[in-house]
Structures are given as C-alpha cells and as structure tokens.
Amino acid sequence: MRGWIRDQFRREIAGIGLPFLAFGVALNLTLGQLTTALKIPMYLDSVGTILVAVLCGPLSAMLTGSLANTLGSALGSPGMIFFIPVVLVIGAFTGFIASRGWFRVWYLVLLGGILQGLLAALVSAPISAYLFGGVMMAGTDFLVMYFRSIGHSLLESVLYQGFASDPIDKTVSYLIAFFIVHNLPGSILARFYGGRNITRPAIDEQPPESDPTHR
C-alpha cells in the first residue's frame, strides 16, 4: 500500500505536476482577493485543490489542500488548520470522480459538486460545532443562529447550515474548474498526469481488437 501511494504520488507530481501543486496551494489562499473584488458571496477556497485533483490526481490534491490550510494558519487564519480533514475529503473525492471521467461532461460535474458539498458539510460540521461553537465569523453564522433559534441542537444547526451553503459553493467551484480545464489547450493538458481525465482517448489511439501485433 505504502509503495503504491509513493509510486502514484511520484506519477502525479512528475514534470509540471509539482510546481502546479504549489500554484494550487497559492490559488486556494489568494482567490479570496478576487471574490472580494468581484463581490461574490462565496468562499471558493477550494478551486486550487479541485484543479489539482482533476489535472494531477487525488494524492497531490490532498497534499495541496493540507498545505494550503497549514500555510493559511501561518499567514493569519489559524482556524484553517483544523479543517484539514475536510480538504483531504475534497481532494480524495474530486480526484476519484475525475479519474472516473466525471469532468468530461457538465451534468456529472454538477452532480459531483452537489455530492462534494454534502460530504464537505458532513465532515466539517463536527469540527465547526465542537471546536468553534458554530461561530466562524462569516456570513453563514446567521444561518447557524437561525437554526439554533428554532430549536435545533448546535451540531444539527451547523450541519443544516453546511447542507444549505456548501453544495452551492462546491458546485460553483466545480463548474469554474470544469470551465477552466476545458478551455486549456490540448498540448498543455497532455503535460498533466490527469490530462486524460478531461479528454476521451482518440479512436485512432485505441488498439483495434483484431490487431494481433498489438501488445
């Protein structure tokens, strides 16, 4: 298992992969600047992880998310380090569905985004409830307050808030990643280990079944 992980990770970061992984980390941390400038009321803080998951693979995406959260903690948002389990799930899930070809068609991306949002809400709810008491100093705190005021427990309120906001955030992040990877030139896509997650193998590249010389 350890050997498989090492080999898979090596394949994912070979060539362009490793510097791109670093770019993904920085993108997660700096995209907030763009959402603020455009006044978009969403976090979109996992676009870098999603892009790395699609273009490189799940292991490098998990590393991207973990490093982004660790660096984010060091650079002024210490709460981020406690959400590493969430980004691990995001990286693993996105990498898995991308390797199954879900990023080739928009409707599967949409479905993947919704599923990812629900999954992220499930993982982040206990952390948010027990460590932060449901208060994250974000706009979504009002939703938690609302659910609590109508009689739900803290964990339930945080979970409902996650179910209400995370699927939207993750679906938009997935669609942005989908738009970006489908607008990348083929020559660039071919440089990534996960490039085949986006493009279908061409018919002339597939070996004909009757060709006895093909091994």
């Binding site: 660096l71 008491g133 938009v172």
Partner: protein, 257 residues
C-alpha cells in the same frame, strides 16, 4: 553545522511545546485555559524560545490575538443568547442571557483562543522558510518541502498578478460590476489568464527540476549531505512527557467517573 543543529533543535522544542498546549486546550476546563492563555502571552514576551522572529511577526501576532479575543467574546455572547440553559445571568435591552450558553461559549471560545495563540506563537517565532527547512531535515519528503517553498513564492506573487489581470480585463470592458451570475462568469474569465501564466511558469520550473534530476531515484538527499541526526532534545522530551501525563490523567479521571 552546529548552527543548523541548534535551529533544528529550537524548532523541535517549539513544536513539542505547542503540542503540549494543544493537549491542554482540549483537556482543561475554561478557567484553566484562561490561565494558559495569559501564561502564553507572558511567555511570548519573556521566553527566548517563543519570542517573535521580527517586529512584523510581533505585530501580526498581536493582531491575530486581538481577532481571536473578539471571536471568543462573540462566541460567548451568541451562545448565551441562543442556548437557553441554566439561569438568566443578565438582561440587555430586554434580551436574556443564559448561564449554560455563556459557559459553553467560554469553553469553546477559550479553547480556540489557546489553540490560536499557540499556533500564532509557533509561526510568529519561526519564519516559514526555516520551518520548511526543519521539516526537510526531520525526514519529510523533499517534494513536500519544495512544494511548501514554491507555494510561499506563489502566495507572494499571485496577488500582484490577480490585480494586474483584473485591471486589464476591466479596461477591456469585462462586466466586473454586473449582476451576480455575470460576475461568477467573469470570475472564470479572470482566472483563465492567471491559470495560463502560472502553467507556463510551472512548465519552466518543472523542466528545470527534471534537468537537475529532482525526481531521480539516485539523487543525494540533503540529510546525506549535512549528516543531521534525528534526536530529541531534553526540553522537547520534557514537553512531550508532560503532554502524555496530561492525557493519561484525563483518561484516568474519565474512567473513574
């Protein structure tokens, strides 16, 4: 060589101290966590181990603590207002604040404050480049350390690139101040040039790594070059033992209850 060993030992000591504080934050009641928080503030100014590495780091740390103090106060207020348990401790403009909620807010808020202060002290006293160096020396794969260092470079340069692209696209007539859906679409339009420029840079960097044999199996490791030993200092051992003792005590208390 001795400088390098000293630096590794210092960062190791800080890490084990932070681990001890993290354990305490989760195990102690809020009254004890308040004492730990105050102790951390004192240690941060008096101990050479935990002092900020620069004036800028000190300023960031103070801002950091202020933010989390505010967050803690907010957590206490919100919980006292919404968690209707125990007796009423105060009434503000006709709104009742409950004791159970306030205590829950204090417990979670102070836990978070202690955790945040400990992390602030760690990263305030250890520059990130030194921290990455330390991680490499204690055996983390060089690819992870390099990613961390490259990320630091990108974190510094990306905001400038983003603002340049934003201004250029706005000047070209991209509707950056239109309705929400249009702005989400614009987001992708702004991201595309950023992606392409960063991918081109990644290609260059990836190529230079390949040319230097970074991914090669026979590459000489840094550890092999400098001969760093993986040892734990007495101070680190003390902090780690203390952390284990706190966990054991808590478990013993939990089992006897």
């Amino acid at each position: 060589m001795s400088n390098l060993l000293n630096q590794i030992q210092l960062i190791g000591d800080r890490l084990s101290f932070v681990l001890l504080v993290v354990v305490c934050a989760f195990v102690f009641p809020w009254e004890a966590n308040l004492c730990v928080f105050l102790l951390l503030l004192i240690l941060q100014t008096t101990s050479s181990l935990l002092r900020p590495s620069s004036a800028k780091a000190g300023l960031l740390f103070r801002r950091f603590v202020r933010y989390f103090l505010l967050l803690t106060l907010l957590m206490v207020a919100v919980n006292a207002l919404l968690l209707r348990e125990g007796k009423i401790i105060a009434e503000v403009f006709g709104v009742s604040l409950f004791q159970g909620g306030a205590i829950f807010g204090l417990t979670t808020g102070l836990r978070l404050l202690v955790l945040a202060t400990a992390l602030g002290i760690l990263f305030g006293s250890t520059p990130l480049a030194e921290f990455a160096d330390y991680l490499g020396n204690v055996g983390l794969p060089s690819s992870v350390v390099l990613t961390l260092l490259l990320s630091l470079y990108f974190v510094e340069t990306l905001p400038h690139r983003i603002s340049r692209i934003f201004t250029a696209q706005e000047a070209r007539g991209v509707p950056v101040r239109s309705n929400l859906f249009a702005r989400i679409r614009v987001f992708s339009i702004l991201l595309m040039p950023l992606m392409l420029s960063s991918i081109i840079e990644s290609i260059d960097r990836g190529m230079s790594l390949e040319l230097r044999g970074f991914h090669s199996e026979s590459r000489i490791s840094r550890e092999g070059l400098v001969g760093v030993r993986r040892t734990i200092s007495r101070r680190s051992a003390f902090f780690l033992l203390l952390a284990s003792a706190v966990i054991t005590l808590r478990l013993a208390l939990w089992l006897t209850q």
